[in-house]
């Protein structure tokens, strides 16, 4: 028996030592090899990414791109380690709200002079602002998703309430009134709306832009402070009152993610669920036969349908020896026709104006047209470039918003925590 164990041990070790040692550097065949780490995860999206890489490789035999599948889970820590170890991919897929530390840390290349004029002109300035840190541009924003309202068409139409359009959206006041009326028609156990607020901060801040909320204010000295104005309180106040006063919003979904609210939506328990635009794919996959749904714009305020977004981005590592070649690949990858393929694969909206004009993204089917109409109003998320935001969000804002929405604290206490406690956190990150 002992003999067998040792034989097995020796065999395993031999396998490891002979078969699985590092590949080391690529053989020098005169070709430039770029590593592209993609976070695409949905089947259609992965296929679109791989097809584009294959097309590039076929057309550019001297500049070959290796597709590496990354994961949204732990991407920040994985990239940080790779940067520190000098082993980062040449081309990096991420989201704009994750770039600030990498940009300020000198890990990402400034793309200002690397990108072609075509690409710069195609993507609107408001989108470029999401990846601009200091004087530099550290990523190309290429896919984005607004928050929209997924609605049960039958319940909505039978209730007789006015159905909003991007041209004539609900105001936040009207929205509250509609949810009250809708709940009254739904009977016991039904709610007009379910807010999945597992991540309450980004929802509150991003939707808050429509009402004129800003929360973060940058002074002349460049330092950011938190101020909670009346406009900042409109969106949180509406949600709070729907849950605690009107009882038109489900309390049980406050701590859940978007996917968790879908069964109740399909079952007719909730008439509407505010979700990211890409959730439409889950709805098409999981909705029971005959379930009719529609996509409505989020309510508007004095700033119209404005919303904060953190687009998906493509960046180039500062350590990459082939920045120009990587930028050429980005130019190819983000050609309008390719951006459309990527957007459809991820069920998101392209940032490029030419791609956004594509008829396939303007169809009413699956709510594409509503998203495309809202796209003009999308702006950089308020906290995008605020240093110390992650700590402010985790330690101060998330518990404060959760307690406020559940009715445990009032608006004054929410304001006190966000401002007083919050500014203490931000100050630590902005010392001279």
């Amino acid at each position: 028996m002992r003999g067998r164990v040792f034989t097995a041990a020796a065999a395993a070790l031999a396998l490891l030592l002979t078969g699985c040692s590092s590949d080391g550097d690529e053989a020098d065949d005169g070709k430039i090899r770029l590593r592209f780490q993609s976070l695409a995860w949905q089947q259609d999206s992965v296929e679109a990414n791989k097809e584009l890489v294959a097309e590039w490789n076929a057309a550019h035999p001297d500049i070959q791109v290796d597709y590496v599948q990354g994961s949204w889970d732990s991407v920040h820590d994985q990239l940080l380690t790779s940067f520190e170890g000098g082993e980062a991919p040449d081309i990096i897929h991420d989201a704009s709200d994750d770039l600030a530390d990498f940009a300020y840390g000198g890990y990402l290349a400034d793309l200002t002079t690397l990108l072609p004029a075509r690409l710069k002109a195609d993507i609107p300035a408001r989108s470029w602002r999401t990846t601009t840190f200091g004087q530099g541009i550290y990523g190309v924003p290429f896919l984005q998703e607004p928050r929209v309202i997924m609605a049960n068409k039958k319940i909505l139409e039978s209730s007789g309430v006015r159905i909003p359009t991007p041209e004539r959206p609900w105001s936040w006041e009207e929205f509250r009134q509609v949810t009250k009326e809708l709940t009254a028609t739904m009977g016991k156990g039904g709610y007009a709306i379910a807010w999945p607020l597992k991540e309450p901060v980004s929802v509150s801040l991003n939707l808050g832009l429509s009402a004129g909320g800003q929360l973060f204010h940058r002074g002349a000295d460049g330092k950011v402070t938190v101020r909670f104005t009346e406009a900042d309180g409109i969106v949180p106040g509406t949600v709070h009152d729907q849950v605690n006063t009107d009882l038109s919003a489900s309390r049980s979904t406050l701590g859940t993610g978007g996917s968790d609210a879908l069964p109740g939506f399909f079952g007719g328990k909730y008439a509407m669920v505010p979700l990211g635009f890409s959730y439409r794919q889950q709805i098409t996959q999981q909705a029971p036969k005959g379930f009719e749904w529609t996509v409505l714009p989020a309510p508007a305020g004095k700033e119209g349908l404005a919303q904060g977004v953190s687009p998906q981005t493509l960046s180039i590592a500062e350590d990459s020896p082939y920045k120009k070649e990587a930028a050429r690949f980005l130019d190819f990858f983000l050609q309008p026709r390719n951006m459309v393929r990527l957007a459809r694969g991820d069920w998101m909206l392209p940032t490029g104006t030419a791609a956004l004009a594509d008829p396939s993204l303007r169809t009413a089917k699956d709510g594409w047209a509503t998203g495309a109409a809202v796209a003009q109003q999308l702006r950089s998320a308020p906290a995008q470039s605020v240093r110390g935001y992650p700590e402010w969000k985790d330690k101060v804002a998330t518990p404060a918003f959760q307690e406020y929405y559940s009715g445990a604290i009032d608006a004054d206490e929410l304001r006190r925590r966000l401002v007083e406690d919050g500014n203490l956190v931000l100050a630590r990150y902005q010392r001279d």
Binding site: A8, A9, A12, L13, L15, L16, L17, C20, S21, S22, D23, G24, R35, L39, W41, Q42, Q43, V46, V68, Q69, S71, W72, D73, S74, D77, Q78, L80, T81, S82, E84, G85, G86, E87, A95, K198, E199, G257, G258, S259, L262, P263, G264, F266, G267, K269, G276, S278, Y279, Q282, Q285, Q286, A287, P288, K289
Partner: protein, 280 residues
């Protein structure tokens, strides 16, 4: 009689408590199996059922179509088995010395073991990455195995020291009195009594390595080297959105090797523990 009745009711209570505990433990796994066989519309049902109404293998097909699960499982198995084997080979003699020769060195080593458990991996990952890079062991399963060995070694050592201490030194002394040399005593007397402990420690090291995610994510670059936990995350999107059916199918398959190995080894652990406990 009264004592017997109390004893029986207490026994029933114990079994009920045990059953409740087993259900509690098994619930996530049973739900995982149920989810793996459900078609997409059933995953979004407001009233989910334990038994899928319309069972399907589509999730398994999709999981295999989209990701190289078999290759990843092979990598995980190789890494976990090797890590368990090497950890046990190193930890066993160390544990023997620490348990039998108590002195300052042994105390210091025990202290080191305890302290090493306090370091979170995010603290060591960057230095570790740099060390492995200098050794050309980035993107290498061998490098990953070395990390797993180092990571599981302190706890393996801790476990084995306890097992060695449980073997009475008098048995070794008796063997010596009977004329057995040091090596003969270790091989014929101590090692058989330690077998259950060694098996349990190997199992611990195996499961630790089999489930490990972050080191594998950071250290392995190319898809053909990736382990199963890393590949499983490819079914996850941003903000926790998941391709639930294929994820459940792949996760279900990922648990099978652990279960099989545990089922095989468990008998040896308990058998070894009980051997010689009662005089025949």
């Amino acid at each position: 009689m009264s004592t017997l009745r109390t004893s029986r009711s207490a026994r029933v209570g114990q079994y009920l408590a045990l059953l409740a505990y087993l259900v509690f433990l098994a619930f996530p796994f049973l739900w995982l199996i149920s989810t793996a066989f459900k078609p997409a519309p059933e995953l979004g049902s407001l009233h989910p059922t334990w038994i899928p109404r319309d069972p399907t293998l589509a999730n398994f097909r999709q999981a295999f179509d989209e990701q190289p699960l078999l290759q990843a499982a092979g990598n995980s198995l190789l890494a976990a088995l090797s890590a368990a084997l090497i950890a046990v080979l190193i930890a066993t003699p160390m544990a023997y010395v620490m348990a039998r020769h108590r002195g300052r060195l042994s105390t210091a080593a025990t202290g080191w073991v305890v302290i090493s458990q306090a370091f979170p991996f995010v603290l060591v990952i960057i230095p570790l990455f740099l060390v492995l890079k200098n050794l050309h062991l980035i993107n290498s399963l061998f490098g990953l195995v070395m990390v797993y060995v180092v990571w599981s070694l302190p706890f393996a050592l801790w476990m084995l020291v306890g097992y060695v201490r449980a073997v009475p030194a008098e048995l070794e002394e008796a063997a010596a009195v009977d004329g057995a040399g040091r090596l003969r005593t270790l091989v014929s007397v101590t090692a058989p009594l330690l077998a259950p402990g060694i098996v349990a420690t190997a199992l611990f090291a195996f499961i630790t390595a089999w489930n490990e995610f972050f080191f594998a994510l950071v250290l392995l670059k190319t898809p053909e080297k990736q382990t199963l936990p890393v590949v499983l995350t490819h079914f996850l999107g941003a903000e926790g959105v998941a391709d639930l059916g294929p994820l459940a199918a792949a996760a279900f398959l990922a648990t099978i090797p652990s279960l099989v190995i545990f089922a095989i080894i468990q008998k040896r652990i308990t058998g070894g523990m009980l051997a010689g406990a009662v005089k025949s």
